[in-house]
């Protein structure tokens, strides 16, 4: 199945390419997507954004699909899903 990862706002600017297609096995979950990001994109993601050792975003990165926030590693993904990735400013 194929999932689109869409970098939003500032993140799109920083990465240069706003949209990434990820092919994942049927029934894949967020943890599988993270494995794929780690394998294919990690060298383009800054240290503050991606934890290589633990294969996950770090800091204030928010993933939203439709009107649903995706947080849990075991969350099931689906074919054709569009996941928007936001890097947000939270430091007060």
């Amino acid at each position: 199945m194929r999932v689109s990862l869409i970098a939003m706002g500032l993140l799109a600017k920083e990465l240069g390419t706003p949209e990434y297609q990820m092919d994942l096995p049927e029934g894949a979950c967020l943890a599988d997507l993270y494995d794929r990001i780690d394998a294919e994109m990690a060298d383009r993601l800054p240290l503050s954004l991606w934890n290589r050792g633990e294969k996950r975003f770090r800091g204030a990165v928010v993933l939203i699909s439709g009107s649903k926030v995706i947080r849990n590693a075991d969350e099931r993904l689906f074919d054709g899903q569009e996941i928007k990735v936001f890097k947000v400013v939270v430091g007060g």
Partner: protein, 625 residues
């Protein structure tokens, strides 16, 4: 209902501590229209009611504790309260906000604001409930930590919703940056706790059962339904909830927005790692600072074991943690969490405390402390063990702590020997943990912030310049942040004036500004205010009120002797970083700050030579010198 001032409790309470009496009065309609509430009404009252040059620690000095018409539990960010006074730390205009139920509860008790003057003959606390005030003896609270005071008070008041504001031992000992605590939340900066301590007022309790009249309740309900719905999927709201303010530790370090080693650099390279450590070992869960906050940016944290063991508490904010890590090169997150917890328990501002310690370490390194007894402490960079020790010493004004208890400006005056170049402050207020070298508009905000080098009002400049946020202000003239180069200096002055007008509104309306970050921008604030007060107000009109308030605060400072020279930044803050990621980046320095200020003065309609609001500007805003 015909004569009621919609959106207001309708009354204020004047407290005279010298006579232990209180008297109430009605809110003036013109005051409410022209200044709305919060820091707006407070600026007018302080300017008119307190004579220039008054010692802020004298009995005559005023502390105004103010809410705004949007200070309601049902409004996004409506759990806010503002403390306004002349700062004993800086001598300038001062305001300190805290998120809590205190504001809404004060209005339920019948008052939109309190005016506190005088000095009680002995320690007291004020119990305000349903239109009345009572002064209760507080000798038994003296010297107690904040949580101990609150626990004792809770046993003495009727059950039910109530809120407590209280000072810690630091306020009683005259530390000039003592805070007022609202549970785990602080009105931290510039010494509100010092002023209350000087008045022998150790705490204020508010409890009420009244309701604030709402002009158009059904229309408001409709608006709120839509706003809260949008907030559910707003990425910034989710980011604040999931990560808290500390969530930017790594990103700020990376973009050069993390003052390090007493501002010698703006990056350290350890932010992401420290954040990971915090999330794994210290973070427990998010929590809201008032009943109804849907964002809940607060963090419940702890240190479960070891020498820095700390019970579960609300804390570990970005600013506090930065000042006890990067500022002092401390890599021990447990020690940072513990030290910031102590700041809240003793009631001192964690930013000024951490910044003062960083200053001390640099003075020690440079060999400038021969004339001072440092108590045998190893004042080396990165020594985590001294952090809690120094916090206690500051709060109790013990040993070298007494030197730091008045902040870096006064400490440098006492030490001499060129130490002033290590004292990072504007108008006497220590710098917070955002670095203008990597987002130049912040430089103008730091210079011109009426309370000094402040982490509340100027910080949006960095969020616009480097974070590309706009709060819906582009429609009112703010340049599109995506078209702006964060390293450029030109064009930033005018943008800052507009951002200040916009982002000061939460302080005037009585809300939390993080909701503006999460999409509740100027238009929505205007719409809610119109419903609450039953008086239509546009976003443009709101921005003008804010401009009026900023100008009035500026006049307050001018009257207190502040001038254009006090808008300048410390040399180090303009210099290319001495080490770190941006050490060899010439654009990461501020080359012509006076030109940036000039742009700002022009945009504000202030005299370019003196920095004082021109007569034409004052006339346009309905102000007089």
């Amino acid at each position: 209902m015909g004569n009621a001032l919609m959106g207001y409790a309708g009354n204020y309470l004047s407290i005279n501590l010298s006579t232990l009496t209180g008297s109430s009065g009605s809110i003036d309609r013109d005051l409410a229209r022209n200044y709305i509430g919060g820091t707006g009404i407070a600026a007018r009252l302080l300017y008119d009611g307190q004579k220039a040059g008054l010692d802020p620690l004298s009995p005559e000095s005023m502390v105004i504790i103010a809410t705004g018409p949007l200070t309601l539990n049902s409004i996004p960010g409506g759990g806010s309260v503002e403390l306004c006074f002349k700062s004993p730390h800086t001598g300038a205009w001062s305001e300190a906000r805290a998120g809590s139920d205190f504001g809404p509860d004060l209005r339920r008790a019948g008052f939109d604001y309190l005016v506190i003057q005088g000095k009680a003959p002995r320690p007291v606390y004020a119990y305000i409930s349903d239109g009345r005030v009572e002064f209760r003896p507080a000798e038994h609270l003296a010297g107690k930590l904040v949580s101990e005071k609150m626990e004792l008070i809770r046993k003495e008041i009727p059950k039910g919703n109530s809120s407590i504001a209280c000072i810690g031992p630091a306020g009683e000992h005259g530390v000039t940056y003592a805070s007022v605590m609202f549970g785990d939340r602080a009105a931290g900066r510039t010494g509100a706790g010092t002023v209350l301590g000087s008045k022998n007022l150790l705490a204020i309790v508010v409890q009420g059962t009244g309701e604030v009249p709402i002009g158009r309740p059904e229309a408001l309900k409709g608006l709120l339904k839509g706003y809260f719905n949008e907030l559910r999927t707003n990425p910034v709201a989710i980011g604040f909830h999931d990560y808290g303010t500390i969530g930017d530790l790594g990103a700020n370090d990376e973009k050069g927005d993390w003052p390090t080693r007493n501002w010698q650099s703006n990056s350290w390279g350890k932010g992401a790692e420290l954040l990971d450590r915090f999330m794994k070992h210290n973070f427990i869960k998010p929590y809201p600072c008032y009943r109804g906050c849907t964002i809940s940016c607060g963090r419940k944290v702890r240190v479960s074991e070891g020498q820095y063991a700390t019970p579960e508490h609300g804390g570990a904010e970005y600013e506090s943690i930065s000042c006890f890590t990067a500022y002092v090169l401390n890599e021990n997150m447990d020690a940072a969490v513990h030290a910031t917890y102590l700041c809240n328990q003793y009631g001192i501002d964690s930013i000024s405390a951490g910044a003062s310690i960083a200053f001390l370490l640099e003075c020690a390194e440079a060999g400038l402390l021969q004339d001072f007894d440092t108590g045998g402490l190893d004042l080396s960079w990165g020594n985590a063990e001294i952090l809690p020790v120094l916090v206690r010493m500051i709060a109790n004004r013990e040993g070298i702590g007494a030197l730091l208890a008045d902040g870096v400006k006064k400490a440098a005056e006492r030490i001499g020997r060129g130490s002033e170049k290590f004292a990072i402050h504007v108008k006497g207020l220590e710098g917070p943990a955002h670095d203008p070298r990597s987002g130049k508009s912040l430089a103008v905000s730091y210079g011109t912030g009426n309370r000094g080098m402040c982490h509340i009002h100027p910080v949006e400049a960095m969020a616009w310049d480097a974070g590309k946020m706009d709060w819906g202000l582009c429609r009112y003239g703010l340049p599109d942040p995506y078209e702006v180069d964060r390293w450029a200096e030109s064009g930033k002055g005018a943008a800052v004036a507009l951002m200040q007008n916009g982002l000061n509104l939460p302080e005037i309306l009585g809300t939390c500004k993080f909701f503006m970050y999460a999409g509740v921008g100027v238009d929505k604030l205007a719409a809610m205010l119109s419903c609450v007060t039953d008086h239509d107000v546009s976003a443009e009109e709101l921005l003008e009120v804010s401009e009026r308030v900023i100008n009035l605060q500026r006049l307050f400072n001018v009257r207190e002797g502040f001038s254009k020279a006090d808008d300048m930044l410390p040399e180090r803050v303009c210099a290319v970083p001495a080490f770190g990621k941006y050490a060899h980046e010439p654009a990461c320095g501020i080359s012509d700050f006076p030109a940036m200020l000039q742009e700002y003065y022009e945009a504000r309609g202030w005299d370019p030579v003196t920095g004082i609001p021109s007569d034409a500007t004052l006339a346009r805003l309905g102000l007089k010198k």
